[in-house]
């Protein structure tokens, strides 16, 4: 909607109506004018009703606005940012592990929390958590028709060539880490 109206709305005056009395079409707040930048669309939610005499009549969604500075009021409060929502795309398939050791340093340090998503398809050179012969490990996987190799980012660690005798069970792909600098 904003792409559509952006050209019309820039530098125009509009009146903001309360959703409760939109049938009367009498203004509640003061007339405001401001230019809409693309990032502004997150601050204001409009529902455009009609264009009259060179103006776009918009219904401000939410509560009535008692116009303060630039018409900013309560209904502009978005939710708090949530790391959960950003890092966990599929809650049912996301698990956490703790990194110990430095085989994947400097990318992953000891004590980091690994965010692992089982539902994602694993492609070459992605970091995975897997079980290999009795231990849980975190490495980059490289697979072709001939062989499967587990590589460490740390140059001091040798790559592991996985043979058929070894029991490799892949848990899932590491999509990110969480690291606290200072533990309270």
């Amino acid at each position: 909607m904003f792409a559509q109206y952006k050209a019309n709305i820039l530098n125009k005056v509009y009146q903001i109506y309360s959703p409760h009395i939109k049938s009367n079409l009498s203004p509640v707040g003061a007339s405001l004018s401001y230019s809409l930048q693309p990032e502004d669309k997150h601050l204001v939610r409009f529902k455009a009703h009609e264009q009259r005499q060179g103006r776009v009549v918009c219904e401000l969604l939410g509560q009535r606005v008692s116009c303060g500075l630039f018409g900013i009021g309560d209904n502009f409060l978005e939710q708090y940012q949530s790391l959960d929502k950003r890092f966990i795309k599929n809650q049912a398939s996301t698990f956490f592990f703790e990194a110990s050791g430095i085989s994947m340093s400097p990318l992953i340090m000891s004590g980091d929390i690994l965010i692992v998503d089982r539902s994602l398809e694993i492609t070459n050179n992605k970091i995975i958590v897997a079980h290999l012969d009795g231990a849980m490990i975190c490495k980059r996987i490289y697979k072709n028709k001939k062989e499967t190799i587990l590589k460490s980012d740390n140059k001091n660690n040798k790559p592991i060539y996985v043979t058929k005798e070894m029991n490799l069970v892949i848990f899932g792909m590491v999509t990110g880490i969480a690291r606290e600098f200072y533990q309270s």
Partner: protein, 421 residues
């Protein structure tokens, strides 16, 4: 149009949960014990083939387990409920109509979907990939048949874990090969009874001509089972959970308890736990019962005491309940006995708002309801038992359950995450 129901059931669920973080245990004998490390409540295929049936007390097969390197776990319900929730969440994306039947089973309404067998295989694959829990799926035109199909999917390897019985012929074969006792709703007593009537397989029951006779002998439900076997839907999907009509909380003690003060701590804890469940389903309780008993097996000093109080006004306040619990304990406690188990029982449950008030007793006031709610919220956020009544005691060493084989809190906290090299 006839319905299509799928029953998705996790394979050896508690064992599978433990195996998720211990993949080296796949294809080895594994078992999970009940509360207090009593009996086996989940067994892997390999353990079953060693001749250990479901429900075997652990102490009876200790030597067999050691000899065959069986890995034994105490129940880790924090882990199992978390993984169950993940499985159900994953299943919910495949249909808008679903019934969570138990911690590891769900019915999915797949009516109207195309290529059912393909879809079922996809569901199985997706659940296993996303959650790591292996499942079996049975599909048919009624819940009873779906359960039957699911049993086949579980038991027969070449089905690859998915059995679809949507046409007459496949249903005929399946029902012919299913003994009557394995039909959902036919328990051990009915099994014998039906066999005496000449019904040995599920097919026999389905094709029995005299429906009126079935209804007379086995009630309406018996007839419904017969009709479900015919492929007609009689048991519909229950999409909302019905609130419980009574709540019980009891545990065996890890070690013997002699003193009243220790019994009080146990009763306070069980009462708090039961009342948490009560408040979760928005009910109030009108009757409280408490029982205590000694070991059932030691001759000579056997005692079982129980009593209950009918409340004038129903309550959901743990503090009041613990008070009543102590009153009952005072009545039934006898000195000198070696107590092994205690429990509480909540009866005459009513939904909030249906309370009948009394002139004589204080009903829960606004403030106590708020307090209880706050305690529940804190415990939900910070973990079970974060905040509790003083009567519950700080240490529970005198009576706590034995859980000698408990696996770490992989998914329910931050301190015991699995470490990865």
């Amino acid at each position: 149009m006839s319905k299509v129901y799928a029953l998705v059931d996790c394979n050896s669920f508690f064992v599978s949960c433990e195996r998720l973080f211990r993949p080296e245990l796949i294809n080895t004998p594994v078992g999970v014990l009940s509360n207090n490390d009593g009996c086996f409540i989940s067994l892997s295929r390999e353990l079953k083939s060693l001749g250990v049936p479901m429900g075997t007390p652990y102490f009876k097969v200790r030597t067999i387990c050691k000899k065959n390197k069986v890995t034994v776990f105490s129940s880790n319900f924090a882990l199992y409920s978390n993984l169950s929730n993940r499985v159900m969440k994953t299943l919910a994306q495949f249909t808008p109509r679903m019934e969570i039947y138990s911690i590891d089973e769900a019915f999915l309404d797949l009516t109207g979907f195309k290529d059912i067998h393909c879809y079922a295989k996809f569901i199985k694959k997706k659940v296993e990939k996303d959650t790591g829990i292996p499942v079996s799926i049975g599909v048919s035109t009624s819940k009873t048949l779906a359960k039957l199909a699911n049993n086949m999917a579980k038991k027969t390897k070449r089905t690859n874990g998915v059995v679809v019985l949507l046409d007459q012929q496949s249903q005929d074969v399946a029902l012919h090969n299913t003994p009557i006792g394995k039909v959902w709703g036919v328990g051990r007593a009915l099994d014998v009874d039906m066999q005496l009537m000449g019904l040995y397989t599920a097919k026999d029951l389905r094709d029995y001509k005299n429906s009126a006779h079935i209804k007379k002998k086995y009630t309406k439900v018996g007839l419904q089972i017969k009709e479900e076997l015919q492929g007609h839907e009689r048991f519909t999907l229950e999409q909302t959970v019905k609130p419980k009509k009574s709540i019980m909380c009891s545990r065996s003690f890890g070690s013997s308890v002699y003193r009243l003060e220790d019994l009080r701590k146990a009763v306070a804890n069980y009462m708090s736990s039961a009342f948490e469940t009560l408040r979760k389903q928005n009910s109030t309780c009108g009757e409280i019962g408490v029982f205590i008993r000694t070991s059932r097996h030691k001759k000579g000093h056997i005692y079982r005491g129980s009593n209950h109080i009918k409340l004038l006004s129903p309550t959901s306040d743990s503090r009041k309940a613990v008070g009543y619990g102590f009153e009952i304990l005072n009545r039934i406690y006898k000195k000198g006995y070696e107590y092994k188990k205690a429990g509480v029982y909540l009866g005459k449950l009513q939904q909030e708002g249906n309370k009948q008030l009394s002139l004589f007793e204080n009903y829960d006031n606004e403030r106590s309801l708020k307090l209880m709610k706050t305690i529940d919220v804190i415990n939900h956020r910070e973990g079970k038992g974060a905040i509790k009544l003083a009567a519950c005691g700080i240490d529970n060493k005198s009576w706590a359950m034995n859980r000698n084989f408990l696996s770490p809190r992989y998914v329910s906290g931050w301190s015991q995450l699995l470490k990865v090299k």
